[in-house]
Structure formats: structure tokens, C-alpha cells
């Protein structure tokens, strides 16, 4: 990154605070070079929907089911790099594609979408099909269609139109084919020799455009970004920076920030979240949906709109609530307009137990059982999700004798979950992992499985004290503070963000880049997310490819 770019940004008044926060940061000395392999990612359900919305408008109805997006290395983004498509998944993609295409060509919509009309509605029309398929093919395949490709789709459209005796039916089927094609469903990365560095490879311009667009907007490149790719502008620092800043200053960046945190926090598990209906009749799908939204809204406001320190997410008493969440947390939430389901900015009072996203229902309920809380699951989640630490799997043969004896009613009975888990901690086979997870989760035991606050458990007071990697805490609020001060927390964020952006974990050289440069700059920046987003997006490292030998011969 050079000072010329910085100066340019500083001079432009229309750019908002993002630019100024970057100008404030120290100019990066030559970042260490890094590179990684190509990946081929399957579109996530959300990306698919975003693209369809962008290309065909928000009124497009998407009917059908998507295969679940698999997770790998704690992220759906990484799982997408190994996901393929099963027969039942393909069935659904075909069904969805035909449904979308039918709407595009129907009488209400064709004026809006189609740049031309056939000579006769009952016959094929080469010229018009080509025009339409080229237009949509470019947007859906995220690059211009090759001549032979386009010819194939036009021919298919013509054959279909002739068979049915209707131009629009033929067009519907070939448009659907675009949406069913692996060129749409998978994001293919292509590389080429880097002319600036002999022996080096880089993504080609359209692959750069895709990577950038999915990173910052979680969707396919728009026409302006595709145009920039066509003209080779993304190969220049200026051209790239221009597009990066255009994307970063758009409100659409919120879509990707949401998608990132949804992924990182494992919110796809909300789909299968089940709480006992008899014990917790008030916790239903509506409450769960609000709980999920509460956390995402809080995060987006904090890191993007207010541009505050990422680490403060673990201590902030500010959040957003609906009346439904108000009754869950037992706080009064008055909506300004009196509508029953409105989001209201809310701040818990000083000294409140509710501080930081660890005390949100989204975290607490997701990492609990249907009928009771789980310090172990919560502690494990903090380790794996927020600190990027791996907790080993439980061993196969577990000895529960001591534990069971103490479960029986009587004077020795274990009343609180802390007491019960302590039995785990004293058994050598169990202690190794449980001492890593349980103290964290036990701090959150004032919150039951649906995040309702409680002072006692089975009549016994709840002891929430513990320590995290040597730092002591007394309760949930101080746990949040301890987590905030843990250097693994922001380090983990950069690792996850990088994996989200590339669809894979960092290579050795990229790991160095993260550690020596990105994490250091993130800290110097006050842990503000936009700067980190920009630094990744404009860096040549983000687009440099380390080609495996097998593909070397095919470059360019």
C-alpha cells in the first residue's frame, strides 16, 4: 500500500470515516509476501439468494430447498471449498432455477429484464437469445461468456424454442441452465502469470473481482466491478483501491459483515435449535430469531457503524432489543411507535450482569442442551469459536463412578452444575479438557439454557468465579473483560476473517502475513474492523497464487 493512495483518500470528502481511520493508521511498511492455492467454492445459500436478488431484483421468488452448507475448520466459508452437489441437491437447484427463469420471462417481467424482443414469439431468435444470454451469463458466471459457451446456450435455447413452439419457453430453459451450470454454482478461480513478478502467479481479473465482491458484499461482482475487470484496472493498485473503496463505503458491506459473523458464531445451528417446550414455553422460533438478530445487529452497529474496538464486543452493555427479547431478559423495552416488533437501542445499567455478547441469548442458548444449560458446551464454544483454540474430543471410555455416587439424593448430593462438573475435573482422564472449558462456562451459569438470569440453582448459590489462561474473573461481566484482554481474541478474528475471505485456512506464508502485519496493524488501529477489511482487500497478497506443480503448465 503506498502513500499516494492514502493522500488521495484523505483529500476526498465524500468518503466517510472509514477512509480517515485508515489514513490515521501508520502506513504499512512493505508487508511480508504471501500466497496460497486456488480454491473452488460452492455458493452458499445466502450467496445464491444475494446474486439472484442483485441480478433479477428483490421481487424474485425463490422456491425450493438448498442443501445444507457444510462446515470445515469452524467456518461454512471453508466448508464451501470442499462441498460438492448431491443428486437431491441438484434436483432442487434445477427446480429453483426453472422457477426463477419462469418469472424472468413471464409477461409481467419480460419488459423489465429482457433487452430485446424476438422477431416472432413462437420461433427461435438467434440474435435476441444471444443478447439476453450474454447479458445474464456475464453476471451469473461472473465473467464474459466465451464464444463457444454462448453458442452452446443459444443453440440450446433455439432447440428448446423450436420443440415447444415458443421463444420464451426456450429462453426460460436456457436461462435456467445458466443457473444450474457449475460455472454459476461454483466460484472457479483462474490464475495467470504475474507480469510484475516473473515466476509468480496471480488471480485473473475476474477471479479477483469475485474474491473481492464475495469478501466485501457476499455476492457476485456487479457490472461496475466486472467492467473494471474487463479493462484490466484491477491489476493496478489505483484501480483496485478504487473498487475496494467503492465497495467498502457502500451500505452493502453490512451484508457481508453479517454473513461473516453469522458464519463465525455458528448461527446456522439456529435452524436445528430445540428447547423443551414444557420447561420453556416462552422460548419459541420467534424468540430464537430475535436472539440471533440481536447479536448481529449489535455487532454490525459496534464494528461497522460506530467503528469501535472489536474487543469491546465482549464487554459492551449496549445492544438492541425487541419487546419479545425484553420479556426473555426481563427488562422493559418500550418501542417508540408502539409496534409490537420493533428494534430499540438498549443499554444495560452499570454493574449489570448482561455485558458483552457472551451474555446474549444467541450464544447462551445455542451452546446449551434443550432442557438445561451447559458450562462445558459454552466453554468449548468460547475456546473454539472466539479464541481459535481446539478442544480435544472426549475419550471413548469414560468412568462415571464417582460422579454417579454423588448424584444420589442425600447429604452428599451435588446441587449445582459446578459441583457436578468438579467431579469431572478431579478425574484425571477428564480433567485435561474440562479444566480448559468448564471454568469459562461456569462463569455464565447465572444464565440458564434460554439465557434467563438466575441467582441460585436447586437452592444453592451459583459460584461464577474462575480463570481464563491465568487471568481470574468473578462473574460473566468480568469474564467478558478477561476475554477482551486476551490477545488470542483479536488474533482469532483476523484468522477467521482471512479464512472467510479466501475459503481456506492460511498457508504458512499467509500465516506470517497475518501475524507480522495484519494483526499488528489491527492492534495499532484500535482493533477497528473496516481498516482490517481494507488492508486485506487491497493487498497483492490477497490475490497472489501459489500454484501446485500440476497446474503450472496450464497457467496463462
Amino acid at each position: 500500500m503506498n502513500t499516494f493512495v492514502f493522500a488521495k483518500l484523505a483529500a476526498t470528502t465524500i468518503l466517510i470515516a472509514i477512509a480517515s481511520s485508515v489514513v490515521g493508521a501508520p502506513a504499512a511498511a512493505q508487508d511480508t509476501q504471501s500466497a496460497g492455492p486456488l480454491v473452488m467454492r460452492r455458493l452458499t445459500q445466502e450467496q445464491y439468494r444475494n446474486i439472484v436478488q442483485d441480478v433479477f431484483g428483490a421481487s424474485m421468488v425463490i422456491k425450493g430447498r438448498f442443501e445444507p452448507d457444510p462446515r470445515a475448520q469452524q467456518l461454512v466459508a471453508v466448508g464451501s471449498s470442499s462441498a460438492s452437489i448431491t443428486a437431491s441437491g441438484m434436483e432442487q437447484y434445477v427446480h429453483i432455477a426453472k422457477g426463477i427463469a419462469a418469472q424472468v420471462v413471464d409477461e409481467q417481467h419480460r419488459d423489465q429484464f429482457l433487452p430485446c424482443r424476438p422477431a416472432a414469439a413462437t420461433a427461435p431468435d438467434d440474435h435476441c437469445s444471444a443478447k439476453i444470454l450474454a447479458k445474464f451469463g456475464r453476471l451469473l458466471f461472473r465473467r464474459p461468456l466465451q464464444e463457444a459457451e454462448l453458442a452452446d446456450y443459444v443453440k440450446a435455447s433455439n432447440v428448446a424454442a423450436a420443440r415447444v413452439g415458443d421463444f420464451y419457453s426456450g429462453l426460460q430453459l436456457s436461462l435456467a441452465a445458466l443457473l444450474e451450470s457449475p460455472q454459476f454454482l461454483f466460484v472457479h478461480e483462474q490464475m495467470q502469470n504475474d507480469p510484475r513478478r516473473s515466476g509468480s502467479y496471480r488471480l485473473d481479473a475476474w477471479s479477483m473481482a469475485s474474491r473481492l465482491s464475495f469478501f466485501l458484499w457476499n455476492t457476485a461482482p456487479d457490472t461496475r466491478l466486472l467492467d473494471a475487470a474487463d479493462r484490466g484496472e484491477l491489476y493496478t493498485n489505483d484501480g483496485l483501491a478504487r473498487q475496494v473503496d467503492r465497495l467498502l463505503t457502500s451500505p452493502r458491506v453490512e451484508v457481508s459483515v453479517r454473513a461473516f459473523f453469522t458464519d463465525m458464531l455458528g448461527f446456522d445451528a439456529f435452524d436445528a435449535l430445540d428447547k423443551d417446550g414444557m420447561l420453556y414455553p416462552n422460548f419459541n422460533a420467534l424468540v430464537a430469531a430475535d436472539a440471533r438478530e440481536q447479536t448481529l445487529r449489535t455487532i454490525v452497529d459496534h464494528v461497522l457503524k460506530q467503528q469501535r474496538d472489536y474487543r469491546d464486543l465482549f464487554t459492551t452493555r449496549k445492544t438492541f432489543l425487541t419487546p419479545l427479547l425484553g420479556s426473555l431478559y426481563r427488562v422493559p423495552v418500550a418501542t417508540p411507535n408502539g409496534y409490537p416488533q420493533e428494534w430499540v437501542a438498549f443499554e444495560y445499567p452499570q454493574g449489570s450482569a448482561q455485558a458483552g455478547i457472551l451474555t446474549h441469548a444467541s450464544f447462551l442458548a445455542l451452546h446449551s442442551h434443550p432442557g438445561r444449560s451447559s458450562p462445558t458446551l459454552r466453554g468449548k464454544a468460547v475456546r473454539e469459536v472466539l479464541l481459535c483454540q481446539k478442544v480435544p474430543d472426549p475419550p471413548a471410555n469414560v468412568n462415571f463412578e464417582n460422579f454417579e455416587a454423588a448424584q444420589k439424593p442425600g447429604p452428599g448430593q451435588l446441587k449445582t452444575v459446578r459441583d457436578r462438573l468438579h467431579a469431572h475435573a478431579s478425574e484425571p482422564m477428564c480433567a485435561g479438557c474440562h479444566k480448559v472449558t468448564d471454568p469459562i462456562g461456569l462463569a455464565l451459569e447465572n444464565f440458564d439454557t434460554i439465557a434467563s438470569f438466575r441467582q441460585t440453582e436447586n437452592g444453592s448459590a451459583i459460584d461464577t468465579s474462575g480463570e481464563l489462561d491465568g487471568a481470574a474473573f468473578a462473574d460473566a461481566a468480568t469474564l467478558g473483560k478477561t476475554l477482551r484482554e486476551n490477545p488470542q481474541a483479536p488474533a482469532c478474528l483476523t484468522k477467521r476473517l482471512f479464512a472467510y475471505a479466501t475459503g481456506r485456512v492460511a498457508t504458512k506464508s499467509e500465516g506470517e502475513w497475518l501475524k507480522q502485519n495484519l494483526q499488528v496493524q489491527f492492534a495499532a488501529d484500535g482493533y477497528k474492523l473496516p481498516g482490517l477489511l481494507r488492508r486485506i482487500a487491497v493487498s497483492p497478497n490477497f490475490y497472489r497464487i501459489d500454484a501446485p506443480e500440476a497446474l503450472t503448465a496450464k497457467a496463462d
Partner: protein
């Protein structure tokens, strides 16, 4: 039906003009062939089906096994639900998973070793599961190569994997299973008229625009991604086949009838909900099989680790399995046993549902082989000893039923091997390492 035949047929159909009624009774031919397509099988013209049924957390040793080997006289209390169908099932006890010292991934190694024949080294699978092998052998000509459903409400509850760690997705909603099976794409074998839709013919030609790009595309990617693209094209081929089948009038099937739609219903891990969903799914599968929409199916009643629970009780089946003590007087965990017993009742429901469909000289169950497996023996300690395995159905006359087989520490793969042989697959051994076996369970084969 071979790929070559299908291609020729496509060419033939493309030559025909749209709009004229076409009768091409190809599945009729298929019906008279046995599973390897070579000769009449046992004089029975009906296809044999294979299904897997999965339940979590095993059974208590000593509480399910019939006392003696051979004809089942008395079932253990946890199998009480199967009493009415005990002459239609086989029970295999004292089978185990031999891990050869590989790490045991809890609620994974047990079930996936059984289903793939190999103890996984990591938590990803190198090999396909038995149902994928069977589907390759007997499932290639039907509309669906296989169907995966679950009673758990979770689409990720699936133990069906194709090669390359490709997990099949389960249908969790009966209403969606119905729409998929009997929606507009369904061709009723028994309907009097059949008019192929010209739009469907048009769709065929359009799909080939995608497949034509295969070579160019796969040349550009590395080996791992090529495998994923191959999987994509295999899946697309399946869709193409479905489209082709839509253009053919299927031969009439006496046992086939379209059920009424099940409507939306709640799904989840509450025990009664799961039992109900299991029953509805079994019914839909029975119709799907009778109408030859598929010949291979996979049902997950409860997941490995079993999240089954009772309302108002914070202790789930899984939590009970670890935290409930073995009752000193009874000698087992009463609440765990309760869930195990209910699980076996659910299996009985599936068996009885298939048995309730008259087909040919017998019932649908007679022409099916159902394989029931689980993830543990004694769940409390994640034991892989004495892992209960059951089969049901006569596999088109190739399997004897009502038999208890005592394994004496044999790998569970003996059952899988025997099952595949009963389905007419020519293999003499299955599995790797200490899970490898060539010891067919002769007692149960005809």
C-alpha cells in the same frame, strides 16, 4: 439400463415430434431382470429393495438378545416392540467394531465403521457407505437413486455417504418428501393415459448444453476439485435421467398407489414427535418403493448420540446414557432403556408398514432388505462391543428370517457383506483391517 441404452433412447426421442403420445415400456423390461440385469430371479418379477434404518445409543447387553442362536423364540425386553414381527427379522448379537488401535471418535467411529466397512482415521470418510454401494448396483434405473429421510427434524442427520466424503442430505419434512415424490414430476404407473410434455423434451436438450462443457471445465482444476465436479456431473446425470423417465410411460405396478398428502407437521427430537414422523416417513417410503420411484432408502430415526427427549425433562437420551447410574437392582439404566425400547418400537413400525403393502405373491417387506444399525454397544462408555445389528425382510426370497445369529466378536461387516450378497452383488469380502471379512452368515442366506 446402461448409459449407452439411455443415450440411444434420447436420440430416438429427440427424433420424434412433440405432442404425440409415446409409449415406451422400458421399466417393464427392467422388472423382469434380476439386480445385475442378467436373468430371471427366483421367478419373482419384482425388484428387490434395500434400506438402512439408524437409531442412536445402542441397546443394553443382555436386554435384547434372544437366548439361543437359531430360530428366535424369545426377544429381550428392549426388543419387545418387535414381538409381532419377530419371524420377519434377524438379530445379530456379539458383533463388534475392531478399531485396530485407531482413535475412537465418539458417536462416529462406531456407526461409520459399520457402514463403510473401514474404521476412519480422521473424522472425514474415505469410503462410501453400504447404501451407496448398493445404490450403484440396484438403484441406477429408478427416478431416485436413493432417498434419505429423517425423523429428527434435522436435514444434516444422514449417515449415507458417497465416495469422497459426500454426505447425502436427509429430508426432514414429510410434506416436502411428498411434494418431491408425488408432485408434478410424478408419473403414475397405473394411469390410463400418458402424454409426454414437449417442454420436458426441450429440457433434455438444454441440460446437455451444460454437460457439453464438462471436459473444458475439469481440465482447468486440480484433482480434488475435479472429483467434486465429477460428483456434480453425476448428480446432473441423475436429473437428466429423471427427465428422460418423465418422457416414458412406466409399466403398471399393481401395488402402487398415491397416498394423500401428509400436510405440514411439527418435527423435532421430542420422542412422540419423532415416533410420529418416523411413521409418516415409513408410509411415504412404502408408497415410493411400491411405485418404483426408488429401490434404496436411508432412514435416520435418531442421530448418533441420540437427541431424543421427553417434554418437561431436561435429561435427554444422551445425557441419561452418561449420567444415569446402572440401577443396582435392575442391572441397567432404566431411563436409557426406556428410550432404547421406544426406538425399537419405531423400527417395528417401519417393518409393519412395509409388510402392510401387498405386492406380488407377498408383501413389500418380502422384497426388501432392511438393515438397522446404531453407533454404540453400551452407550455409557461409548463401547463398540456387542453392537446390536438387525435386519428385516426377505430380500426377494434370498434371505431367511426369524433367526438369531451370535457373532462371538466378529466384525459387524459380516452382516453388511451378507446383506450385499443377498441383494445379488458379487463380492466375496468387504471391509479393511480387522473389519475385513469374507465370512458370509450362511445361516441366513437361502
Amino acid at each position: 439400463m446402461s448409459r449407452k441404452e439411455l443415450l440411444t433412447r434420447r436420440g430416438m426421442l429427440q427424433g420424434m415430434l412433440a405432442g404425440s403420445a409415446v409409449y415406451v415400456g422400458l421399466p417393464f423390461l427392467e422388472c423382469f431382470l434380476n439386480n445385475s440385469g442378467t436373468a430371471l430371479a427366483n421367478g419373482m418379477p419384482l425388484p428387490t429393495r434395500f434400506g438402512t434404518w439408524f437409531w442412536g445409543l445402542g441397546l443394553h447387553s443382555g436386554r435384547w438378545e434372544p437366548q439361543k442362536a437359531g430360530k428366535i423364540e424369545q426377544l429381550g425386553p428392549e426388543l419387545a416392540g418387535l414381538e409381532r414381527v419377530k419371524d420377519k427379522i434377524n438379530v445379530y448379537s456379539m458383533m463388534k467394531v475392531h478399531t485396530d488401535g485407531r482413535p475412537v471418535f465418539v458417536h462416529f467411529t462406531g456407526n461409520m465403521s459399520q457402514l463403510t466397512g473401514t474404521v476412519p482415521k480422521t473424522n472425514t470418510l474415505a469410503l462410501p457407505t453400504i447404501d451407496a454401494l448398493v445404490a450403484d448396483a440396484i438403484g441406477t434405473s429408478t427416478r431416485f437413486r436413493s432417498l434419505e429421510v429423517t425423523a429428527t427434524g434435522n436435514a444434516k442427520a444422514s449417515y449415507s455417504f458417497k465416495a469422497g466424503n459426500v454426505q447425502q442430505t436427509s429430508e426432514a419434512s414429510p410434506a416436502q418428501v411428498y411434494a418431491r415424490l408425488f408432485g408434478p414430476e410424478f408419473r403414475d404407473p397405473n394411469s390410463a393415459t400418458f402424454t409426454p410434455d414437449p417442454k420436458v423434451m426441450a429440457e433434455q436438450s438444454v441440460l446437455s448444453a451444460i454437460t457439453d462443457q464438462r471436459l473444458g471445465l475439469t481440465r482447468q482444476v486440480g484433482a480434488a476439485d475435479r472429483a467434486r465436479l465429477d460428483e456434480y456431473f453425476t448428480s446432473l446425470r441423475q436429473v437428466e435421467q429423471q427427465v428422460e423417465l418423465q418422457l416414458q410411460k412406466p409399466a403398471p405396478l399393481e401395488a402402487c398407489s398415491v397416498p394423500p398428502p401428509p400436510g405440514e407437521m411439527p418435527v423435532g427430537t421430542e420422542i412422540e414427535t419423532a415416533m410420529h414422523t418416523n411413521k409418516i416417513m415409513a408410509g411415504l417410503l412404502a408408497h415410493a418403493l411400491a411405485c418404483d420411484q426408488t429401490r434404496v432408502f436411508n432412514m435416520v430415526f435418531s442421530e448418533a448420540g441420540s437427541a431424543l427427549r421427553r417434554p418437561g425433562n431436561p435429561m435427554t437420551h444422551h445425557i441419561y446414557s452418561h449420567e444415569e447410574s446402572v440401577d443396582e437392582q435392575l442391572g441397567y439404566q432404566p431411563n436409557v432403556s426406556w428410550f432404547s425400547t421406544r426406538s425399537m418400537e419405531a423400527f417395528a413400525t417401519v417393518i409393519e408398514t412395509l409388510d402392510g403393502v401387498k405386492e406380488g405373491d407377498g408383501t413389500l417387506l418380502d422384497h426388501t432388505l432392511l438393515l438397522a444399525s446404531t453407533d454404540t454397544g453400551f452407550a455409557k462408555v461409548h463401547s463398540l462391543e456387542n453392537m446390536p445389528v438387525l435386519t428385516a425382510g426377505r430380500a426377494g426370497g434370498r434371505m431367511k428370517t426369524g433367526i438369531h445369529v451370535i457373532g462371538r466378536g466378529d466384525p459387524t461387516t459380516r452382516v453388511g457383506l451378507t446383506a450385499m450378497q443377498a441383494l445379488g452383488m458379487s463380492l466375496s469380502s468387504w471391509g479393511t483391517g480387522s473389519m475385513q471379512t469374507s465370512k458370509t452368515i450362511g445361516e441366513v442366506l437361502v
